[in-house]
Amino acid sequence: MTTLLRRLGISLLISLSLISVSTSVFSAPKTLVFSAIPDQNQSQLVQRFGKVADYLTKTLGVPVKYVPVNSYAAAITAFRNNQVQLAWFGGLSGVRARLLVPDSEAIAQGFEDTQFETYFIAHHSTGLKPSDNFPESIAGKSFTFGSKGSTSGRLMPEFYIREHLGKAPDEAFNLVGFSGNHSRTIALVQSGAYQVGATNYKVWEKELAAGKIDTDKVSVIWKTPTYPDYQWTVRGDVDSVWGDGFKARIKQALLDMKDPALLDAFPRSAFVSASNDDYQPILDTAKEIGLID
C-alpha cells in the first residue's frame, strides 16, 4: 500500500516532467500557426481550414498549421501569447488584438468586408415588417446578440440600438441574450426563443442558400449601414522569425488565394489588401459604447 503510494508519486513526477520535455521536443521546427474566430458553424473546421493551411504551407514554404479555438477571446489571447501568429479576426476582435500586440498589422480583408452589414431579424409573431428605417418598435421585445465579442453580432447592432433608442440594450429590451454565434442567433429567433436578433449578413445568406432558414418564421427587418469587418492580422515579429519579407509573402499568398474551395471556408469571394487605419471606425465605435477602455 505504501509502495503503491510511492509508485503513484513517482509515476506522477515522471509524467509531469514528461509534459515539459515532450512539449519542448515537439516545438523544434518553426511552424506558423494560424487561427480564426469561431463565428459560425464549426463542424469540419479542421478539415476546412486544414486546406487553407496546406495552401499556405505550399505557397510560403514553411510548415503552417491551423489551431481551432472556441471563443473570440481565446483567439485574441492565443495571438497575444504568440501561440498563433496569423489570425482571421472580426473587426472588433482584430482591433482588440492589435491594441494588445504592438506592431501587429491588418494585412488583408475579404472583398465583402469593405462593405459589411448586420441584419436585424425578427420572428413572424412580432408582426415586424422590413423597413429602410431603424425599427423602433423592437423596443421592449426580447433580443439576442451573437457572441459578446462579435462586430456584426454585438458591436454594430448595439451601436445602432443606442443611437436610435437612446438606451443601453438591457434597458431598451425586455430581455437581452448572447446566443454564442451567428448561426445560433438565427436558430433562436426562428424558434421564437427570442423575438428579435442581430446577425452577420454573410452567415444569413449562406444559411438561406443552404435551405436552413424558414422565411415564414424569421425574416430580415432592417439592414445596418455598411462598416469594415473581418481581416487577416499578423504579428509584427514574423519577419524576425521567418526572415525578412515574410509578412509581405503571407499577404501576397492571401491575396492570391483564388480557389473557391479555400475561400468558401471564410466564406468570401476574394481577399483584398487592408491596413490598420481601415478599422479606425470600429475602434471609435467600440470606445463610444464602452467595449474598449
Binding site: L18, T23, Q44, A73, T77, G180, L291
Partner: protein, 516 residues
C-alpha cells in the same frame, strides 16, 4: 388483551409526542426558514416562460437521440482520451498535493488558502490559466489540480481527524512521526482515502469534460460546438460516450492500473505550444492591475473604477447568484425527498430499483450546463431553466445518497407501507442526513451557478465571462475574488448551521460521496 391495548396506547402517545417534539425542533425551524427564504426570493427572480415555438427545436433535439452519430465530429475518441488524461493527471496530482496539505491543515493559513482556492470554480481557474499559459496543457492540469488539491486537503484532514489515533500514539513513543504515520495511521485509514479519491475521479471526469466549454480539447469542446450548431445527433453521441465511460469506471479504474495511466496521460495531453515567461510576468504586472492604476489615475480613480464595477456588475450579479442559489437549494431538497425512494429497498423491488438507479445515474452524470441548455431551448431565457437544471442534477445526487442511506435502516416487520411508511417511518429517520447532504451541497450549488452564467443567466459568472471576452482581466479578477468571497461566506454559514444542528452524515462510505 388489556396489556396489548395499553402498549398500543403508549406507542401512539410516544409517536405523537415525538412528532410534537420534531415540530418544535431546530431542524424543523431551519427547514421552514429556508423554504420561506426561497419563497421570498421568487418574486425577484425572472422565472417567465417566453418561447413561442419550442417544439420544432425540441423535436430536433430528441430526434438526435434516435440516431446518435459521431461522423461529423472530427476526433471524438481523441477528445475522450484527452478528457480521461486531464482528469487522471489533474485529480492524482491534486490528491498528492492535497495529501501533503492535509498534514498542515491545523494551520489557519493553510485552511484559509484552501478555502479560497476551492471557492473558485474550475472553469474560472481555466479562464485565468488560459491567459497565462494559453493552450499549453498546463492550463487544464492546473485548472483541475488546484481546486481539487484544496478539496482533497480538507477532506483528507477530516478523515485523519475522525480516525483512531491510539495505535499512532503508542508507536510514536519509540518511532519518529513519519514512520509512525506510515505504519500506524495510513494503513488504518487507507480504504477511506481510496474510496474518496476514486469518487473524486468521477467528479474529475465531469469537470474535465466541462473544461472543454472554455476551450480545452476535451469532450466539452465538441459538445459546446455541437450544441451551438444544433447538431443534436452529435450531442447525444458524445453524451452517450460520456455516460458509458462513467458507468464502466469500476471496470477499468483500478488502483493498480493507475500508475500506468498516469504515465500514458502526458503523451495524450502534450501539444506543441510553449510557455512564455513574458506572458506570465505580463499577466501579473499588467493584465490584472486595475486600469486606473495602469493609467496612474491614483486612488480616487481606482475607487471610482471599483464602485462603478461593483454597482453595475458585481451587485446585480451577487443578487442573482443568491436568488438562484436559494431557490435551487430548496427545490433540490424537494426533488431529493421525492426521488430517493426510487432506489430504496424499503419502497421498491429489485427491478424497480434498477430503473430508479438508471434514472438517477443519468440525471446526476449529465452536467448542469447541458440540462440548462435543453431547458433554455424549451422555456426561453430566464432563471427558470437554471433553477430546474441545478435542482435536477443536485437533487439526483442527494436522492442517491439518501436512498443508499435508507437501505441501512431496518424497520419493524409490521411497519406500515406506502405513504405512511414514507412519512412516518423513513423520512423522520433520515431527515438528519438529508439536511446534512443538502447543506454540504449549498456552497456547491452556488459555485455551479457560475457555469450557468456563461450560458447567459446573469449571475456573477455572466459578468466574469463578459470581462474575459472583453479581455478586461482586471475586472475579471475583481469579480472572481468577489465570487470566491461569497462562496466562502456560504461555506462557513453552512458549517455553522451543520454544527449548530449537530448534523452528521453517517457512514464513511456515503460521507465520502457527499463531499465534493
Amino acid at each position: 388483551m388489556y396489556a396489548k391495548t395499553c402498549l398500543i396506547f403508549t406507542v401512539n402517545k410516544l409517536t405523537v409526542s415525538k412528532g410534537l417534539r420534531f415540530r418544535r425542533s431546530p431542524r424543523w425551524k431551519v427547514s421552514w426558514l429556508f423554504v420561506f427564504v426561497a419563497l421570498a426570493c421568487l418574486p425577484f427572480a425572472d422565472l417567465s416562460i417566453s418561447t413561442y415555438d419550442p417544439w420544432a427545436e425540441l423535436g430536433r433535439l430528441f430526434g438526435g437521440l434516435l440516431q446518435p452519430s459521431l461522423v461529423a465530429i472530427e476526433k471524438p475518441f481523441e477528445a475522450l482520451l484527452q478528457t480521461l488524461a486531464f482528469a487522471i493527471l489533474g485529480v492524482s496530482s491534486g490528491s498528492l498535493i492535497g495529501f501533503g496539505l492535509a498534514q498542515l491543515f491545523h494551520l489557519r493559513l493553510v485552511r484559509i488558502v484552501c478555502a479560497s482556492v476551492r471557492a473558485i470554480h474550475e472553469l474560472f481557474w481555466a479562464l485565468i490559466f488560459l491567459q497565462i499559459f494559453g493552450l499549453h496543457p498546463l492550463t487544464g492540469l492546473l485548472a483541475l489540480g488546484l481546486p481539487y488539491a484544496a478539496t482533497f486537503a480538507k477532506v483528507y484532514a477530516e478523515i485523519l481527524e475522525e480516525g483512531d489515533r491510539r495505535a499512532y500514539d503508542t508507536i510514536r513513543q519509540s518511532a519518529g512521526p513519519t514512520s509512525a504515520f506510515f505504519y500506524a495511521r495510513l494503513p488504518d485509514l487507507w480504504q477511506h482515502f481510496v474510496t474518496y479519491t476514486g469518487y473524486r475521479l468521477e467528479c474529475g471526469l465531469r469537470s474535465s469534460a466541462v473544461l472543454g466549454f472554455v476551450g480545452l480539447p476535451t469532450l466539452g469542446y465538441y459538445l459546446s460546438t455541437a450544441f451551438l450548431e444544433g447538431a443534436y445527433a452529435e450531442v447525444w453521441a458524445l453524451l452517450i460516450l460520456f455516460y458509458l465511460v462513467i458507468a464502466s469506471l469500476r471496470y477499468w479504474l483500478r488502483p493498480k492500473l493507475l500508475p500506468l495511466y498516469i504515465l500514458i496521460a502526458p503523451f495524450i495531453i502534450a501539444n506543441d505550444s510553449e510557455i512564455s515567461v513574458d506572458n506570465i510576468s505580463r499577466f501579473f504586472t499588467q493584465d490584472i492591475v486595475p486600469l486606473p492604476l495602469r493609467n496612474s489615475e491614483g486612488l480616487s480613480g481606482l475607487w471610482q473604477w471599483f464602485t462603478e464595477l461593483f454597482l453595475t456588475e458585481a451587485l446585480p450579479g451577487i443578487i442573482n447568484t443568491l436568488l438562484l442559489t436559494q431557490i435551487a437549494l430548496v427545490l433540490t431538497g424537494l426533488i431529493a425527498l421525492i426521488w430517493f425512494p426510487l432506489i430504496s429497498r424499503l419502497f421498491f423491488e429489485r427491478f424497480g430499483r434498477l430503473l430508479g438507479h438508471l434514472f438517477l445515474v443519468i440525471m446526476r452524470s449529465t452536467p448542469e450546463y447541458i440540462l440548462a441548455f435543453i431547458l433554455l431551448t424549451l422555456w426561453g431565457p430566464s432563471m427558470l431553466p437554471a433553477v430546474i437544471a441545478l435542482a435536477l442534477h443536485n437533487g439526483a445526487i442527494i436522492a442517491h445518497l439518501m436512498g443508499r442511506y435508507s437501505n441501512t435502516l431496518s424497520l419493524r416487520v409490521d411497519a406500515t407501507a406506502g405513504m405512511n411508511r414514507y412519512a412516518y417511518e423513513v423520512v423522520p429517520r433520515i431527515y438528519n442526513q438529508f439536511l446534512a447532504f443538502l447543506f454540504y451541497r449549498w456552497e456547491i450549488i452556488q459555485r455551479e451557478t457560475a457555469i450557468l452564467g456563461i450560458l447567459g443567466i446573469t449571475t456573477l459568472g455572466f459578468y466574469i465571462d463578459s470581462a474575459i471576452q472583453d479581455i478586461r482581466l482586471d475586472r475579471a479578477m475583481v469579480l472572481i475574488a468577489i465570487t470566491a468571497a461569497l462562496n466562502v461566506c456560504i461555506d462557513s454559514l453552512s458549517h455553522y448551521i451543520r454544527s449548530k444542528l449537530r448534523l452528521s452524515i453517517g457512514s464513511q462510505q456515503i460521507s465520502a460521496e457527499s463531499r465534493r
